[in-house]
Symmetry: C2
């Protein structure tokens, strides 16, 4: 029965109800170390707090401590797919377990100088898919942000937690094709420049696998998401003797399939194709698309522990990332 005119319940209300001072309430509710509280008082405070439905004001807390319990994730300006969506969802769940609130800020950073953004939220940590400049990182640190992570980016950035999974994706694609006996491999690179930060590490992984498997460097071609535009690339590969291609993702893989149809080639006989993500359309394609999935829950869990460790000042545990990506074997490769 919350009355509309009711003011916010503050810790002073709890204190009055429990017959103690506000400080005591704070100590009890935060389990402040080196503060001795008698069992009786503790339970009285807790009882009062729950019965009043007390929840501390995040604004006041943030003002006092200089940081909030919000973890801010800056999303890239290109449309995110369902995979990134589930990754964020899992990450949110994982962080919530530790009392952190995860929020994402969509839209290009150009909208609003990102400076304003983290000043407006005062987050405990900031994650972003792209890089930060050293100046930006310093500014955030100074403003009380405990952790700044660029998930992907230039090779000189300190932390790039998503880099390894992305490379493994590309590696696994190539390994699958090489194991199937292919020796001349192509790489279908996306048309959209904005996804370069994802595409580069994947391609890198494919290159690594080719080198390790004693196979020539992959032949990289840009494949637009259009049958007519994809056809020339497919034809060029075929003329080159390429028998299998790793595609940046399932959309690009489907563009390759569409291009093949235009040129009169059949998968996997003339050209094997393997995608990434396992979007719903992949299993419905003709032929059904072989692809690589990532265990987003596992990645999220790893990311969450990294964030938590950094916020609490503990050393960051080295991630266990094996088995995080897997091939979904269908017809196209």
């Amino acid at each position: 029965m919350t009355d509309s005119t009711t003011r916010r319940v503050t810790s002073a209300d709890v204190a009055k109800r429990a017959g103690v001072s506000r400080a005591t309430v704070s100590y009890v509710l935060n389990d402040t170390p080196h503060q001795t509280i008698s069992a009786g008082t503790r339970s009285r405070v807790i009882e009062a707090a729950t019965s009043l439905g007390y929840a501390p004001s995040a604004a006041a807390r943030a003002l006092r401590t200089g940081r909030s319990d919000v973890v801010l994730c800056l999303l890239p300006d290109w449309p995110i797919g369902p995979e990134v969506g589930t990754l964020l969802g899992n990450l949110s769940t994982e962080l919530a377990r530790s009392g952190l609130t995860f929020v994402a800020h969509p839209g290009s950073q150009a909208d609003r100088p990102i400076a304003d953004l983290w000043k407006a939220i005062t987050p405990a940590a900031v994650l972003a898919f792209t890089d930060f400049t050293p100046a930006e990182i310093n500014a955030m640190r100074a403003a009380g942000v405990a952790l700044v992570v660029g998930l992907l980016g230039r090779s000189d950035s300190p932390r790039r937690e998503l880099e390894v999974p992305q490379q493994r994706v590309g590696r696994l694609q190539a390994e699958h094709l090489i194991a199937a006996g292919h020796t001349v491999i192509g790489y279908a690179y996306p048309d959209d420049d904005r996804v370069r930060i994802f595409a580069e590490p994947r391609l890198e992984g494919t290159r690594t696998a080719c080198a390790a498997g004693g196979v020539a460097e992959p032949s990289v071609r840009i494949v637009p998401l259009d049958a007519d535009a994809a056809a020339p690339a497919v034809k060029a590969w075929h003329d080159e003797g390429v028998t299998a291609v790793c595609a940046y993702n399932d959309d690009v893989a489907m563009a390759v399939l569409a291009g093949m149809r235009r040129v009169g080639l059949r998968a996997p006989a003339d050209l094997a194709v393997i995608g990434v993500d396992d979007i719903p359309a992949a299993r419905l394609a003709v032929p059904a698309l072989t692809t690589v999935t990532t265990d987003q829950a596992a990645v999220a869990a790893h990311l969450a522990t990294t964030v938590l460790a950094a916020i609490n000042g503990r050393p960051v545990a080295p991630g266990e990332l094996s088995g995080i990506v897997q091939v979904v074997r269908r017809e196209s490769a």
Copy 2:
């Protein structure tokens, strides 16, 4: 050259630099009404603020005013597609233009009682795709949230800003098919119960269009995202005399196409199919998928003005929503 040890720049710093009191700084920077400030002072304050790189602490501001300039959007627990992604991006841009910060909270509400969430952020407005209970709405109102919007939901909810666009989508699908001469229409309903809030208004729109076009009620069948599972539904439609189906979205539409392939039917000759969303895979399908797109930028703009109006206490302008959805004509219908 921001030194790492530098503390946050406060309005007191600006005041000192400009040689005025803190209050004056506040008045200048907020254009407080009924406060007269001389031009000289005003420019000195502004100069000091910009040269120091001052940005007000959101925490302090939120504490004082009782609300922040954050607009919180609760995302549903099912994976969001690229369309919702761009909608959020546009909304973010649109709101940023008015000084509001848009953030999204992914993950199921079950993670964390939503009460904690808005207490932790103290947003100016809360948007959600699903409904709120009246108790939740009251609690938020009491806590200073200016606006609570359930974008979709039960018919007795006050505001459902996304309802109309969704209905128009379904209506436009059917209108397109009826205009092409079809008289027996099916509706391919999604397998996933979680998207029901989107599916219901779309189906509703299709029903409306059928009634208006003098055509029988659409034959609704659930179509899973799997060729084998979709085949029986397709066969049943064909036996029924259905010549065209509206699909919930492009994924479902592609499942229908896949099911048709299993059963040996061809689109659009034996059965016309129309999807929703125009995902990249739609144009790459065989046959290329006819579909309906929504102008997410326009929807975002409408949503943004609604939010702004409500926050500023102005009456909400009735939305101009015609021409927001359009058919992308390809081969399948």
